[in-house]
Symmetry: C2
Subunit: 313 residues, 2 copies
């Protein structure tokens, strides 16, 4: 907070919690296509409490919980002063860490399951990076609609535990890439009904190829990340003869085409699922003072780690 | 011809000419996904003349020129007996070699320019393999609609002649891959108006990547061949942040979704363009006796060669 007076129409929000997302790290690394003017504050989502309002403010009052009305830069801060429209009020009936993390990853999962292909009960979705927050949300949002998921996870120590956890969220099938390679693919595709209609890829490289192999005729692969930093290798045959499509998803682009009201409705729906215990995911709350350690964990320097959520005093 | 009697409703067609297409070769090699029961006759398109009809035949008479009503196997034959509906009558006001080659490559070019993105005058299409028959048709069909084309060709002896020929068909820009690499891409994209809406790929490998680089925001790459037999390498960034889409096109699939009437209307339109000298492409007529030599040429064993069209006595 720069200590300036609030302008009329602005509210001052004391931040309560904000996560470290992969895209936040990419922004700092300079590998994200949109670059802020530096110096800049990191973080694009989080939850805060209104601590001051100005006379022109109509829909927010002191003690309201708010999240950014669309993901924007600068949530790793103790206080933020912005016009009322930059905020979206949320209920206080969900844990802090869910309100802080609802607007990027769960929204991405919901949109990808909604905007690309018409999915009906019994249809199949296949994804890599299934332990990511998006991956966990995909499993549960699909399960709610009786859509089966086939989930690929990295081979790692404790992989059985990981599988059990994803199964408990509603995952029908969980494989490591190696297990998938040994599978009788023809039989498995028959078992799940002629292949997946939708594939979701946040990894790239051979893991993206593995997802594509599980797509059925006319299936769509949606890429929303490239964590391995390896390109997708794509044979021409499946494009031509199997009518496979490749698309990409970026929530930032979605936001430019939709109103704040659309965004508010989406986060409200997702937070209601959280409140009703139909959507859950693993986070680790970290005091803001331990930022450096949390950043290391978020960057994978200590192996697999849950989503790091900074908590402000 | 197996010497059998015609069944009622059938016509007997004496073939006049039939081309050797890459997909014909792939079928023989066994690399095409649909495999005929062997022994089988090659060739999927061509033109013939009706030499015998049966009482049940209503719309064809002796001396009519006909092409298969959709590409089907067995046109490398002197005579074919099939039911009337397997044939589509065509006018005799175009050269034989055009009637023989209208139903695969020109149709593919037309569909790809029509079915994937809405193109308006001034829009840009980029393609590799621009000297192929599809490539030549794309240039002219685009030119008719005032759509600019950017064309990539292999570096080869006589490349200047090739460029001049494509320009004479209406190509605005023709580059070898090497020339494209040296281009000031940012300026060039500005010059052609923010990049191509549609890219067409029949090669794969680095040449597919070159096409993708010329796509603008939201552009679509349509793959219809993989002549280099190399996969497409696809970075995840352009999918996510530039909203690039990858699709495939296969005329065989199109046919399963459309009627013989749709196909007849399409070939009629294209043959009218030929008659009006608005669509032309290079072919080489070869007597059927020289089949082996023509096949070698079609397989590229003698360098670049025009489309080989077998002519029957």
């Amino acid at each position: 907070m720069d200590g300036r007076e609030l302008e009329d129409g602005e509210v001052c929000v004391k931040m309560l919690a904000a996560p470290i997302n992969p895209s936040d790290i990419n922004r700092i690394e300079g590998t994200y296509p949109m670059r802020p003017t530096v110096p800049a504050v990191g973080g694009t989502e989080g939850v805060g409490v209104v601590v001051a309002v100005t006379p022109g403010v109509r829909n927010l009052t002191i003690d309201d919980w708010v999240i950014p009305s669309h993901p924007h830069l600068g949530t790793w801060a103790t206080h933020i002063a912005k016009e009322e429209g930059a905020w979206c009020k949320v209920g206080q009936d969900v844990p802090l860490e869910y309100a802080a993390t609802i607007s990027v990853n769960p929204c991405t999962a919901l949109r990808m399951l909604t905007d690309f292909v018409d999915l009906e009960a019994g249809d199949v979705v296949v994804q890599n990076g299934a332990t990511s927050m998006v991956g966990q949300c995909v499993i549960q949002l699909a399960h709610l609609r009786k859509i089966q998921t086939v989930n690929l996870v990295r081979d790692r120590s404790g992989v059985d535990e990981v599988k059990a956890r994803l199964s408990s969220l509603g995952a029908e099938h969980v494989f490591t890439e190696e297990e998938l390679g040994k599978l009788d693919m023809k039989n498995f595709l028959k078992e799940i009904g002629a292949g997946a209609k939708l594939g979701l890829n946040c990894v790239g490289g051979s893991t993206a190829t593995a997802v594509m192999k599980l797509l059925g005729e006319g299936g769509t692969l949606v890429t929303y990340g490239g964590m391995s930093k390896k390109p997708i290798k794509l044979a021409t045959g499946p494009l031509i003869f199997k009518d496979i499509q490749l698309r990409g998803f970026w929530l930032g682009k979605w936001k430019t085409k939709h109103s704040n009201e659309d965004f508010a409705a989406m986060t409200k729906y997702l937070l209601e699922l959280v409140r009703d215990d139909k959507l859950r995911y693993i986070t680790e709350k970290v005091p803001f003072e331990d930022f450096n350690h949390a950043l290391d964990k978020a960057m994978g320097k200590h192996g697999s780690a849950p989503k790091q959520v900074l908590v402000f005093k």
